[in-house]
């Protein structure tokens, strides 16, 4: 779908219907509900206003939207880090598993591991956190992340590798407790 093909009153609604749930899942993972909803609404508004700048040849509408949202999330960077650290200090990390088949993983002392992961996430650089969460939570491809984050695919791979290494080290520390 290109944004030029659809009429003005309809396109933003269609876009929202198709992508809002996915985008919200990503933003709610990173921000409090109110900020996440604000970011998502603003992302679609920005997309709508800049629809003439959208080039269909790129990684797609999805990557474009996540790029806009990720840029907007940067305005909330401090709040995001504060939230991650606060969650990491909770006695039992709030763990929600959409897929019941994955509950086996949850049983592996989920709360302690979750706290370590959250603390590690808070310690990542902004770019590392963007790339990791676009990959892990938004489940974008390398190419889509490159488009969304405005960086070469090779840099996405290396940034993601460094971010994941930090998370793994944090989780391995858990085994040594």
């Amino acid at each position: 779908m290109t944004l030029h093909d659809v009429s003005r009153p309809v396109d933003v609604g269609q876009l929202f219907a198709e992508h809002a749930a996915h985008l919200l899942r990503y933003c709610r993972g990173r921000l409090d509900a109110e900020d996440a909803e604000d970011v998502v609404a603003q992302a679609f508004l920005v997309a709508h206003r800049r629809r003439d700048h959208y080039r269909p040849g790129g990684a797609g509408v999805r990557a474009w939207l996540f790029g806009i949202a990720t840029n907007l999330i940067r305005e909330h960077r401090r709040a995001e880090v504060r939230r991650l650290r606060a969650l990491a200090r909770l006695p039992a990390a709030r763990v929600w598993t959409a897929d019941h088949a994955e509950r086996a993983v949850e049983r592996l002392d989920g709360s302690a591991r979750g706290r370590r992961a959250l603390a590690a996430l808070a310690g990542l650089s902004r770019r590392q956190r963007d790339v990791l969460l676009l990959y892990a939570v938004a489940e974008l491809t390398y190419e889509e992340i490159a488009d969304a984050a405005g960086m070469p695919v090779g840099s996405v791979r290396s940034t993601l590798h460094r971010a994941r290494t930090k998370i793994r080290i944090a989780l391995e520390g858990d085994l040594n407790d």
Binding site: A21, G110, A136, R164
Partner: protein, 332 residues
């Protein structure tokens, strides 16, 4: 095959940041409402948080001064449109149309509706006006669009944009709703205003959304009247006008569009204004307008589309003509 332990870190990250489905659903609704509100509002200016407060304050003071100067209330056109009584105006229209018999449509004929007017687009920055023309060839059985062409001319840029428009979906089976009326449904509408009101509320419920019943009916007329007006029997028209006259919150004014005396009925809900236009001489539906309260006064300037005036709160106004044409006149 990937070793599951290779993804262990990703799974933990997903888990700790996952949100309950019911929370996501609630967020979806709230985000949608936020988006709708922002789409209906002029462009939001977000202050950058890193701007030093003192600089921001200075900029704000200057901006307010400039904005206050530029957006100072524009003088209303000399002689504001005279306000008229809603019920009396509808009665006069019904009387004027009482001699107008409904058109008949042959088996090989369709309705051709041309909507012509001016739109203001506040989603552009800065807002722009467009000359808007929308041509519709509709199957009378359900007013189903057979062909649609939309022309737009941005009035600040001399570019004519002609495009094939997507055929809008219409709800329900023909004759089940005012948006998908048929000649048989129109001919069978009640001639008693109270019964007509019941039919109107039932027949516009699908597209009403969370607006009030009255607004649902009023807005539903924008879908119904462009194609149905020429098919209305006089007694049905009278009942329709009397039923509409009972909608609370309506105001009526007399204006002039293209040298024609026109009655403009307006209703405001949630700061959105919906206007229906009727030709005073023929008593028939003429077009529609819309706008929102609280918009910048960019429409204070005269409308650049000949014979289609705008007002401070009417930022879009369209005149509709409907004729019966042979099916083979539909462009390929």
């Amino acid at each position: 095959m990937t070793d599951p332990s290779d993804r262990d870190d990703l799974i933990v990250v997903q888990q700790v940041l996952a949100v309950a489905p019911h929370e996501l659903e609630a967020s979806w609704s709230r985000a949608r409402a936020l988006l709708d509100a922002r789409l209906a509002s002029p462009a939001r200016r977000t202050a950058r948080r890193w701007v030093p407060a003192i600089t921001a304050a200075v900029v704000l003071v200057v901006a307010l001064g400039v904005a206050g100067y530029l957006r100072r209330p524009a003088p209303e056109p000399a002689g504001a449109p005279p306000v008229v009584d809603v019920a009396a105006a509808f009665d006069r229209l019904a009387t004027a149309a009482s001699e107008t018999l409904p058109v008949t449509i042959g088996a090989d004929q369709v309705l051709f509706v041309r909507s012509d007017g001016v739109m203001s687009d506040f989603e552009h920055d800065p807002p722009i006006k467009t000359h808007y023309r929308y041509d519709l060839w509709a199957d009378p059985q359900g007013m189903r669009p057979l062909r649609v062409r939309r022309y737009e001319q941005r009035l600040d840029v001399p570019v004519l944009d002609l495009r094939e428009h997507q055929l809008p979906p219409r709800p329900g089976r023909p004759g089940s709703d005012f948006a998908v009326a048929t000649p048989a449904m129109i001919a069978a509408l009640p001639t008693d205003p109270a019964a007509m009101w019941t039919a109107l509320t039932n027949g516009t419920a699908v597209s009403r959304g969370d607006w009030s019943v009255e607004q649902g009916v009023w807005d539903g007329m924008r879908e119904f009247l462009p194609t149905a007006d020429s098919l209305l029997p006089p007694a049905v028209r009278t009942a329709l006008y009397r039923a509409l006259a009972g909608i609370p919150g309506l105001t009526a004014t007399r204006i002039e569009i293209g040298s024609r005396a026109v009655v403009s009925f307006r209703r405001v809900e949630r700061k959105s204004l919906t206007e229906l236009l009727f030709d005073e001489q023929s008593g028939r539906y003429l077009g529609e307008g819309s706008g929102a309260l609280g918009l910048p006064l960019v429409t204070a300037a005269p409308s650049p589309v000949p014979n289609i005036p705008l007002e401070r709160t009417i930022t879009t106004r369209i005149v509709v003509t409907c004729t019966v044409v042979d099916r083979d006149q539909i462009p390929s």
